[in-house]
Amino acid sequence: MSDRVSLTTDRPGRAATPKPPAPVRSRRLTDRRLAVAFIAPALLLLLGMSVFPLLWALYLSFTDYSATRGGPANFVGFGNYTAILTSAQVHLRAVTTLVYVVGAVTLQTVLGFTIAYLISRRTRGRGLLTTLFLVPMMLSPVVVGLFWRFMLDAQFGVVNSMLGSLGLGQVEWLTRQRTALISLIVVDTWQWTPFIMLIALAGLTAVPKYLYEAASIDRASEWFRFRTITLPLVWPLLLIAVLFRAIEAFRLFDLVYILTSGGPGVSTETLSFHVYKVAFLGFNTGTASAYGILMVLVVIVLTQLYLRYLNKLKED
């Protein structure tokens, strides 16, 4: 073994220094095993907290199991899925959710991008402005819901008080069918527009300056520069932000719970709120599991279509 340790050097004139012996490692502890050992805790956590509950919910979705009643989980085939897909109650909530998602995400995208565009044009105070705009996003949705509930109160709320001082009448923000859903969209927009703004700002900052300089030399108009340089370069990033927001909005629960409890009647009940009622009012665990699985499937399918569009955009 000693002849393997080189005591000479091929660089003449320098003294030979012996290499330190490599630390002894168990022959069983290969690189592969070491890697497995390192990722095992995270993998176990993922299995226990995400994969297992999902598989368990999938199993329960084919049964009539009830968490409170106990008893055996009787197999009902696709009974739960058929009932959900043909239920008029579910269709009503799906339409409400769709209106909410489209309304909220569109408004947030337009506002978020506009604010980001205006901020990106400033050279001074950009950091401070960005931080201030991010504050709503850092608050808990329950807190946001509670203070907006006070602000939108028809009798004592500050919003109606301001409208009154402008000579306008009182609006029943949370207790009328039309205004209640609009109120939810407004509150969600207030909280989550900064998210779109942040991502759009990152995209705008990354647009190479020389493109604008070249456009200036060509005397391109502001609108032309926006349409042909800014928007195409920021668009893919913006679409990712929209995807995240749409998924979030699709599973909206907390704001509905705090602001309207789904009312008046069930006119602001979203799919997630309805799943909650199925799961915890009647404890119909099997049905609620199927409902949840269907919602996951809808999100997966829509996301796949969306990502394909995004990839196509990249390739183009």
Binding site: L55, T68, Q155, G263, T287
Partner: protein
Amino acid sequence: MRHPQRIGRLTAALLLMATTVAACGGDKDDDPTASAPKAPATIPELTTDPLTLSFIWFEWPPAQALEAFANKEYKKVRPNATIKVNTVPNANWHDAMFTQFAARKTDFDVAILDSQHIGEAVTNGNILDLTDFVKNNIDVNAYNPYLLAAYGQFPQAETGQRDENASLYGLPLLGDTWTMIYRKDLIGDKPPQTWDEMISAAEKCQADNPGVSGLAFHQANGSDAAAVTYNTVNGVYGGNLWDAPNRKIEGVLNDAAGQEAMEVLVNRMKPLTAKGSGNWFIDEVNAAVAQGKACIAFNWIAASGGLLDPKQSTLGTTREQILGKLGFATLPKQKTDLVPLGGMGMHVSAYSPAANQAEALNFMKWFEQADIQKKWAAAGGVPSRTDALASPEFLDAGPFNKVYADSVPRMRDMWNVPEYARLVDIENTNVNAALNGAKSPKAALDDIAKQQQDVLDSSGRKGGGGL
């Protein structure tokens, strides 16, 4: 070099299987015939070690009153015991208890259940059967039979009755009903005697006092808010919630009397409420009264104490000044004199440790004694023993306590069947829709009857239950 990969996959698969088996197997509670386990007839030997007896209730003044009262008085007999009343928001109350029951593990020893929750808890085997314990330890003749039945009996008794052969699963903790709160300075000292008179007085008061609404009552679609409001008017106008023996709701709830009650509520009472009051519950009604914004209001008696607090009111700087303006009366009559039964009972969690269950039984026996019930009344509670209800300790403790004592023979409860949570949600959302213009009164009532009937009829359905 492929071995680690295989081992990794195998480990993952085994873990998944093990977790699945752990979750599925070995659960004794999976017996479909499971029902409430029996509490011992006599109280087992109590521990001398420090012990915390935990209750679960919703956040409101009686919860704090109970904790303070129990720690002051019960500690005199059990110095090692500490009482902790954990509270959750009212809207989460049912979920907070029953999700823990579903896990077959509770962080509370005593569940304070609404009278209507009993059926669900009993059929799921979540609370102890106290029948033998009550026989040996409680003087049942000291109670109004209906109160004892309402807070403990399952299956439910007929209104006003107690079935002595039925099992008992709880004992009364806090009695309650609605009181009519009226502005003596605006409508006069004498409260309206009939529902029609009440509406007329509210109309006149609203017209004479701009900025003050004629009525304030619960309309929210959370908890049981709007449902209790409709049920109250339904009772007063001679309607019925259901035909209990035949489990029939459709055609009973929405009969002529039911329709008339819904018409009165939506078309005569709602126009007299404040704009935007369609999501009001206990706190909002109290706020309207305390700020002098309502001529006549309806609220639970147990939640009305704060109205006499000058710090929370604009009606006076002293309790006497406020009482000069506010009157409390039993609900007006119309075709019948029914009033809603509120309040809750104490129920022992089947999943609580044996030492805590023994302590809970001991607490209940102690709490139901005549002198303790009077002390509870003096501390702000509403007792259920007849002697305590007639005692000066109770009647002098608050101006609304006489209202409660007078209302006891007039009480009617909702259903306490296992499907209660769904039935009340259907009623809440539909009454709330009618009150806020999202549905016509007739459509709302017909929808309630149909959907509730579906819930009762769908017990044998294969799949899709709960939609």
